[in-house]
Amino acid sequence: MSILINKDTRLVVQGITGRDGSFHTGQMIKYGTKVVAGVTPGKGGKEVEGVPVFNTVVEAVKKTEANAAVIFVPAKFATGAVYEAIDAGVKLVVCVAEGLPTIELVKITAYLKGKDCRLVGPNSPGIVSAGEAKVGILPGNIFKKGSVGVISRSGTLTYEIVDHITKTGLGQSTCIGIGGDPIIGTKFIDCLELFAKDDDTEAVVVVGEIGGRDEQDTAEYVKKYFKKPVFGFIAGKTAPADKRMGHAGAIISGTSGTAAEKVKVFEACGIKVGETPADVARFVKDKLA
């Protein structure tokens, strides 16, 4: 088992004819993902990596029964692409595209209310259910099928931690890059709710960073409701206040959102925090060994 995506996921790639879209379509297929359709308005009828391209997501879904979408389009069109995917009726939308204005996420959140559709991202590196499927840009080769769930606000830092986990000999059930923006579709807690029900997941690693208070909320949730062991990592201990550290969401305002506070709350809620990525992998290994 795994969460969010698996062997049966039928993926439509929005922006498939773009540079990133076509490259990663190839990578995803290589990993074993069922990429059933691509969409680029005006390019309907073409093929990319053997995948048929449609003009609209509605048409792609109708013709191929796609049930998930991944978005590789320029920022300016990404909001529209999210709505197009939602309206076409897919159950999962992974927005790899970044640069969406925050207020658009407020609207998208309201729009999703009551609909049977989950958004991951924006600014998400994607999802990998090890050995099953990958959606997005995470490098497939670092993953190994196993029992550790990984949830992260970051991209390459996730690779680093996943790589360490794999090198300990353990593997991953599903790894989700939830994205580094202030407002995102799927948060840590949403993923934990799914991992709670996934029998293949024995432990979860939460990779947080400065900014906001999602890590604090997550820690309290873990303490109250989550039965499996959770380990944490928080990036940005040396980050100065009031400066945006790359990610739009990674900014310490006033006294809230510091790494120190997040680490404190994690520890207080029973989530062991690694000082280094290697530490985290070691903690998991020790626990599950």
Binding site: D20, A75, K76, L100, P101, T102, I103, L105, V106, K107, T109, A110, I137, L138, P139, I142, S152, S154, G155, T156, L157, T158, Y159, E160, D163, G180, D181, P182, I183, V207, E209, I210, G212, R213, D214, D217, F233, A235, G236, K237, T238, A239, P240, D242, K243, R244, M245, G246, H247, A248, G249, A250, S253, G254, T255, S256, E275, T276, P277, A278
Partner: protein, 376 residues
């Protein structure tokens, strides 16, 4: 993106939110002229993109012509937290009956736009939120219908007992929301919102920050950017599509990805070193981008060692390696370079770099340790 108080007030005025009579000045002569026009006493306020300018002596009330001259000279040219003050705002003195706080942000947790009001003005709202959350009245907007008039009235009635003042405040709250949404703001704040002795409401200080992701829709806002008051390296980084923040250490870090870049800084610190910067070269990096990154990095004269930490995914290690080679030559880099390159095309990268006289690391722990070692 931030703008100065005087710019924020111009924007507030466009949305019909009242502010005091004021003049932005860049010279002592202009300050004297402004104070004559506005009358004495007047307030002289430094225009810089950092908080705490009051404590730093950047805000003074001048009661006489002599004081105007004196304070103008003092403030124009002073540095606040490293930023030179090149502009001041000269303002009429308002007689204040009461002060309150009114602000608006997109709430990350609720995923909604929220208006916050507090009966104390001039406060640091995050501080109040932490210590006395019940003192803040929050009202959420619904994106379908906006910030409805009755919600604005609730805000007004929370702050003021007198219905007339309360409803005048409600009007301001509605305008503030409209401005926030239309301009893709990430923070709009009136702090303090004051009632004058004559019973009028006025935004004594005004602040508006903008969502960087929304700026493409607002070319006019982008024009307000005060390039002079920004760190020149951060500015150059942004123009090269890089993300750079200067720190006080001596180990220059070049990393792909924001989270990994932070983790790299943290790791350097963890093993006893001092990171010189945050530098994210982003996803698909070309050799040119690497060269730009190194140029920016080396403008910081504190940098004694350079630590490349690259986990290739979209980023190809050979691209980075080529960038290092070219830059090392072009910029005549003397500092030792520790490289940790893993992931996509790492073998090719090693081939490219094997003759380049770099120090290679196995993993980021090893890289950080080696970088620190080199400083000894």
């Amino acid at each position: 993106m931030k703008v100065h108080e005087y710019q924020a007030k111009e924007i507030f005025n466009k949305y019909d939110i009242p502010t005091p009579k004021e003049k932005m000045c860049v010279s002592i002569d202009e300050v004297i002229a402004a104070s004559t026009e506005l009358g004495l006493p007047c307030v002289i306020k430094a225009q810089v993109h950092v908080g705490g300018r009051g404590k730093a002596g950047g805000i003074k009330i001048a009661k006489t012509e002599q004081e105007v001259n004196e304070y103008a000279k003092q403030i124009l040219g002073m540095e606040i937290k490293g930023l030179p003050v090149k502009k001041v705002l000269v303002s009429q003195v308002i007689s204040i009956a009461s002060e309150a706080y009114l602000g608006i942000i997109n709430d990350r947790t609720a995923k909604k736009t929220v208006m916050m009001a507090c009966k104390q003005g001039g406060v640091e709202i995050e501080e109040v939120a932490r210590k006395k959350p019940e003192a803040i009245f929050k009202v959420y907007a619904d994106p379908l219908v906006g910030f409805l008039p009755h919600k604005a009235r609730q805000i007004g009635l929370f702050l003021y007992d007198d219905p007339k003042t309360a409803f005048a405040c409600a009007k301001i709250a509605e305008k503030l929301y409209k401005m926030f949404i239309e301009l893709d703001s990430s923070l709009a704040e009136i702090n303090p919102l004051v009632v004058t002795d004559s019973g009028e409401l006025i935004a004594l200080d005004a602040k508006i920050n903008f969502d960087d992701n929304g700026l493409y829709r607002h070319p006019d806002i982008e024009l307000l950017r005060d390039r002079e008051s920004e760190d020149v390296n951060e500015l150059r980084a942004r123009e090269s599509d890089l993300s750079y923040v200067k720190l006080d250490g001596n180990i220059g870090c070049v990393v792909n990805g924001a989270g990994l870049a932070m983790a790299t800084m943290d790791l350097v610190k963890h093993f006893g070193g001092e990171p010189a910067n945050f530098l994210d070269i982003g996803g698909s990096s070309s050799p040119q981008k690497v060269q730009n990154a190194l140029e920016i990095l080396l403008n910081d004269k504190n940098v004694k060692v350079i630590f490349f930490n690259i986990f290739g995914g979209i980023t190809r290690c050979d691209d980075v390696a080529n960038g290092i080679l070219v830059a090392k030559k072009a910029l005549n880099i003397k500092q030792p370079i520790v490289t940790r390159l893993t992931g996509t095309n790492e073998d090719k990268a090693m081939d490219i770099l094997k003759e380049a006289g770099l120090i290679f690391a196995q993993g980021m722990d090893d890289g950080a340790k080696k970088a620190i070692e080199l400083l000894k």
